[in-house]
Amino acid sequence: MTLSKEPRRDDDGLPALLHTELRASDDKGAKGPAGQRLIHAEATSRPLRDAMPEPQPRGAKIHRHRPIDHNEAARRFIDAPHHEKMHDERLWDLRQKRDGQMHAIPEWEELRELASEIKQHTLAHLGDYLEQFETQALANGIHVHWAQDGAEHNRIVHSILADHGAKRLIKSKSMLTEETGMRHYMAGVGIEVIETDLGERIQQLDNEDPSHIVVPAVHKLRSDVADVFAKKLGTDPRNDDVHYLAEQQREKTRPLILDADAGMTGANFAVAETGSFVVCTNEGNADLSANVPPLHIASIGIEKLIPRIADLGVFIRLLSRSALGSPMTQYTSHFRGPRSGAEMHIVLVDNGRSARLGEPEFWQSLKCIRCGACMNTCPVYRRSGGLSYGATYSGPIGLILDPTFDRRRYSSLPFASTLNGSCSNVCPVKINIHEQIFAWRKALSESHDISTSKHAMMKVAGVVLSNPRLYRAAIATAESALKILPNFVVANPLNSWTRRGRNMPNPVTETFHQWYERTKGGKEDRL
């Protein structure tokens, strides 16, 4: 077997994380307080070092009617080399840990197949399972609401809160509420929302979207977090020690949690058979959000259903291994009904999901369990940062989800991929992600949602490449060849090829075709 030749530490053989951000200054294999070995990048720490930290690059610029310019945002991210390098290495580290977990499970590929089949079956009978789930949940004493879209979801949540006179809502991480823009909506109606997931809280305080499904502030250096906390929480701006920052945040946020009127969670899985739902976290913050206030609201996308509690084990075994390369999350919390004296509400949200289910080429994206493995492995994502996609979902899964929300704005995203296929290989539910990216390009081209210049260039390429005489003329010189040849076809190919640090291919004096013609395929050279 070919083992990775990544540099290893001399002392313990663990992968050497190259970026100083990821290593403690006194790191000897990073030991925890009890002497145990800490292998997660997040666990290592070192005190303040840079007096002039690199400013954090911000995400894609949003223009209402223009497609996202991913390349432009990626350029700003890559031009911040500390951020780019840390981001690439931190996520590659997660990918490697995921590989380690995979190799420890002989039946890994069978598990993926099983998970995929369970999801496919559930989606094929989604109406039935949703009805079963609702019936069971009602029987468990849960209030069940249905929301057609994000706006309706926000209104429903607001009305539940209003009914209880709730003014402060604590919540755990939920991509669905990012989809619906709930935080923004609640600010408009005077409800204070407090994120309890640390990464999500950092992003909230910085007024920035999460850049990753699982690790929402992964694009930030600790110096960025120190800046945000100094401004918003009054911490020491010169102290970027992660333990200090985490502790300060905890001290400032914990009283808000204890005083909250209502709590909100998402759900990783909703079990039709039992009418219960499951939330997986590493910080225990979902349990605080659900169990401290007297009112618990869970926002659940309709694709989160699984048929039976017995099916859950398949997904639990895959989820955290794929996401973070850990065997499972610290907390796997089952919610089956309200506590005595408390209320529990579920809002089941469609927001475009049932329409997607009807699309033969794209329904598979509904199998997604939001592990983020495709983002961790994606070489484009790692080098451009999640915010460069300018969308709720970034990385490979974002490329195939985002256009279903706003076809024009996200029409450029399926082109932010090399179609290398690594994403499909790591997907724990076997979504054919890169094939869907490919299919999206076709769909967007057919509906004229790709740029007119790109389309025009492809028309020219199609004419030239289907006509041997035109083609011969075009490739006669390297310069004209670069103008017409496939991989180089844009308005200004030479510029694009060379501007960012790449030399031009060398021109040849004779093409293969000319050589073959002159020498009769080399046979006359021999004579």
Partner: protein, 247 residues
């Protein structure tokens, strides 16, 4: 056995030597391929950009050129993947189906069809970093993939291990994409070049003198990145090594 040789457009334009090496290598095995003279391209540039309708005429031309052969051999995993898996703009007649099925990438043809066991004329006493094109790897399965739990294998490395003196080096990220990505390298030049720089640095850090691949397209991009960074890497197509090039 009637065999046709397909020389992809970028190889025709920029890599005459690789085309000649491929032809001569096949002749060493008594395969004397024909070179259909009106060939141009497999249609991938348009298809890769989503413009399938614009690829139709090119695909039709390809089929006209290559119909009727027992094997079509192309020294490119990427083009082979396009033909085998994505050539769907053209109407799917029996003839088209046959052309698609009978197209083999060079390594596959040597490994799976000719089942070559030795290359006695070869010697390449250098440290080599082998680059798997992503379509060759994850599209037509040249080798096992690092993301999957599957028995390890590699068709190109099987062949290169028969070359006297050739020493393979291993990179930190064995099958990370180099950022070429067809039209990606033009529409997303910033990420493309960063990925290319990281890739060639990985080759260099592994101690490679030569980068070898079954796909010239990735290497054109990587070569451009390595030259700009001043890395002393040399790039060769696998056909050149297997045909006996010594440097």
């Amino acid at each position: 056995m009637r065999v046709a040789l397909f020389i992809p457009c970028y190889m025709d334009a920029f890599e005459t030597e690789v085309g000649i090496a491929t032809l001569n290598l096949l002749r060493r095995f008594d395969v004397d391929p024909e070179y259909p003279f009106d060939q141009t391209c497999c249609g991938q540039p348009m298809v890769n950009s989503g413009c399938h309708a614009e690829a139709k005429a090119t695909e039709e031309l390809f089929v006209r050129n290559f119909a009727g052969y027992d094997f079509i051999v192309a020294p490119s995993g990427s083009c082979t993947h396009q033909i085998r898996c994505h050539m769907t703009a053209v109407e799917q007649t029996e003839e088209v189906r046959q052309v698609r099925e009978r197209t083999y990438e060079l390594v596959e043809f040597l490994h799976d069809v000719l089942k070559v066991k030795e290359f006695p004329w070869t010697e390449f006493p250098h440290k080599v970093s082998y680059h798997n094109n992503c379509n060759a790897l994850r599209g037509i399965y040249h080798a096992s993939m690092s993301e999957r739990r599957e028995p390890p294998y590699s068709k190109p490395l099987d062949l290169l291990r028969m070359v006297k003196g050739l020493e393979l080096v291993e990179r930190a990220r064995p099958d990370e994409c180099c950022g070429f990505g067809g039209t990606f390298c033009v529409f997303e030049p910033v990420v493309s070049v960063k990925m290319g720089q990281d890739k060639v640095r990985d080759h260099a850090a592994a101690g490679a003198e030569y980068v070898v691949s079954a796909d010239s397209s990735c290497m054109l991009h990587q070569k451009g990145c390595a030259e700009r960074l001043g890395l002393p890497l040399k790039f060769r197509h696998i056909a050149q090594i297997l045909n006996g090039d010594r440097a």
